[in-house]
Symmetry: D2
C-alpha cells in the first residue's frame, strides 16, 4: 500500500476570511485532490471550508480536525472528522498530521499552526500578499536559529506545485 501524502491547508475561519482567500483556498483544494493527496484542514469555516470544498469537487479525500467534541461542528466537506475536544490546541494536531502545509492568509490561529508546523520541521508554502499574520516570515525564517524557510507563492497552482516539490524524495 502506498501511503498518500497529507497536505494541510490553513487560514482564517469565517471571521476575517475575504472572498479572494476563499477563492484561492478552493483552488488549492482542487489542486491537492488532483495530485492524489489527502487534504487536511481544521474543519471549520472560511479557508477551511473552501479548501475542503475544492478537494471534494475534484473527488479528493478530506479530513477535518476540529476543536470541539461534537463532529457535527465540522463543515460538510470533511469525509473524516476528528473531534479533538481540546480547543485551539488542536492546531498542533493539524501540524503533526501534515506532510506539508499551505498557508492562505490568516491571523493568530494560522500563525499558531505555522509555529507548530515550523517546530516540527514541516515544509511550508505561503501565498504572498494576503495581509496575514504570517507575512513577516514569508520567503524568510520564522526563527532565525533554524535553517527552514517559509516558501512564498503567488498562485494556488504554484503553491501546490512547490509543496509537492518540497515533499518529493
Amino acid at each position: 500500500m502506498v501511503k498518500k501524502r497529507q497536505i494541510l491547508v490553513i487560514g482564517n475561519n469565517t471571521k476575517g476570511c475575504l472572498p479572494n482567500h476563499e477563492k484561492i483556498a478552493y483552488e488549492v483544494g482542487v489542486e491537492i485532490a488532483k495530485s492524489g493527496s489527502v487534504l487536511i484542514c481544521g474543519g471549520l469555516g472560511g479557508v477551511m471550508t473552501a479548501a475542503a470544498h475544492g478537494a471534494k469537487d475534484a473527488n479528493g479525500l478530506t479530513v477535518g480536525i476540529i476543536p470541539q467534541n461534537d463532529p457535527s461542528e465540522a463543515n460538510e466537506f470533511c469525509d473524516i472528522v476528528i473531534p479533538t475536544g481540546m480547543g485551539l490546541a488542536r492546531d498542533f494536531l493539524n501540524a503533526l498530521s501534515a506532510d506539508g502545509v499551505i498557508i492562505v492568509g490568516g491571523g493568530s490561529g494560522t500563525l499558531s499552526e505555522t509555529c507548530a508546523a515550523y517546530m516540527h520541521k514541516k515544509p511550508m508554502v505561503a501565498i504572498r500578499n494576503l495581509n496575514s499574520s504570517v507575512d513577516p516570515y514569508i520567503d524568510g525564517y520564522l526563527d532565525h536559529r533554524e535553517n527552514i524557510k517559509i516558501v512564498g507563492a503567488d498562485t494556488p497552482q504554484e503553491a501546490v506545485q512547490k509543496i509537492l516539490e518540497l515533499l518529493s524524495p
Copy 2:
C-alpha cells in the same frame, strides 16, 4: 454528501494480544468495511493492526490516531494517520472520533479508551470472554450513575451488527 459512520476498534497492542484477538479484530475490520463505515483505530500493533488489515482487505477506509509525533510509527494499514504527539492521552481522541466503539479484549489502555467513550456517551459493543480489563462491565454499567450499557457480543459479525443497530436512527 452523506457522512460515513466512523467506528473505533480497540484492544491490546502487540503486548498481550493473543492470536484469537487478532483473528476477531481482523473479522471486525472486514465487517466494518463491508458496511461502508470508516474504521478508526489507535494505529499501532495487535488488535489495531489486525482490524485495519481486515478493513483494507475488504476495501475499506482506515484511520490511525497514534500517540507519537512521527506518522511512520503507524501500522501499514492506515490510509490516514493522525500523529497526535500527546502520548496515551490520544485515547480521548480515539473515543471522540468514534460514532460507535467495538472492544476486542484489552488491558489498561483499552479500559482508558472505554472510559473516555463512555463519558462521551458513545454506543459500545464488546466481545465477551477475552480476559479483558473491560470484562467486569460487559453487559452492564461502567458507571452506576449512568444508564448506558456496554453491550456484549460473541462474534465479530454480531458485534458489528449490534453497533450498526445502535447507530441507526
Copy 3:
C-alpha cells in the same frame, strides 16, 4: 531545594458524590497537607473540592487541573489553577502530575484517571467499599499483564500512610 511530593486525589464530581466520600476526601486532604506534600486534584466539585478544602484547612498547597479554559471554574480551595482547555482528556495530566494517587470512590471519570495513572506506573491506593467503578481492581490488578496492584485502604489515614510508604525511597 527539596522537591515536595505531589499527591493526586480523585473521585466523583458533585454528581454522585456521597457525604461520606466528601468526609473521607477532606480527611485525605488534611493528611496530605500534614505530610508536607502538595495536593493535586481535578479542581472541580465533590471529592475534588473536599480534598482541596481539607488540605487548605491544614495549611497545605493545592493545585487544580481543570478541563475548562476559564480558571474561575476551579473550586475556591485551589492555590494554583491549570486550565487545560482540553476537556476530560485532562485526566491524563492529573495522572502525570502525580507522584502517587489516592482514589476515593468515583465513576467513569475516576476510572479513566486510574487507567492513565496505571499506564504510567504511578503508585495507587484506593479506599475500599465506596461503590466505585474502580472496585473490581482494588487489592488486585487493573491489567493482568502488569505487576502493579491498586492497594486498598479502609481509612483516610491509612490511605495517606500507605501512599507515603509506596513513595519513600
Copy 4:
C-alpha cells in the same frame, strides 16, 4: 482565600538563549515573586530556568509545565511540576494558565505560546529589542482583526509593572 495572580514568562530554551536574556528573565522572576504573584513557566532551560531561579531567590512560588511525561525533566527551580506528556502542544496550557504573560526574546516556540495567549485574550508585555520572532508584533497587533496590543517594555521592572497594571481591576 484571595487567589494569587499567575504570570507566565516565556522565551528561548537553552538553545539560542543569550546571557542578557537570562539576566532579564532572572530579574523578571524576582519582580514577579516580590509582587506576590505565582510564576508559571515552561519548566525547561534558558529563560525558563532563569525566571524560575529569580522567583525562588525572592521566595516566590513557581510552576513548570513541561512537554515530557517525566517530572525530573523540569528545572530545579520549579516548586510544582506539571508533566503534560503532550509535547510542544503544552504551549497552550502555559498560555491558559496565565493571567498575564511576559515575553523575553524567543523563537518559534515563544511565538507559538504568544499566539495561544493572544487567542485567549491574555494581557501581554514583551521586552523590546531582543531579536525575537515576536518582534514584528511588539507595540502592535499580532492579528489585525483583534484590538489587543502586545505592550513593549525596556526593562524587567517596567515589564512586571506594566503587566500588573494590565491585570489590576
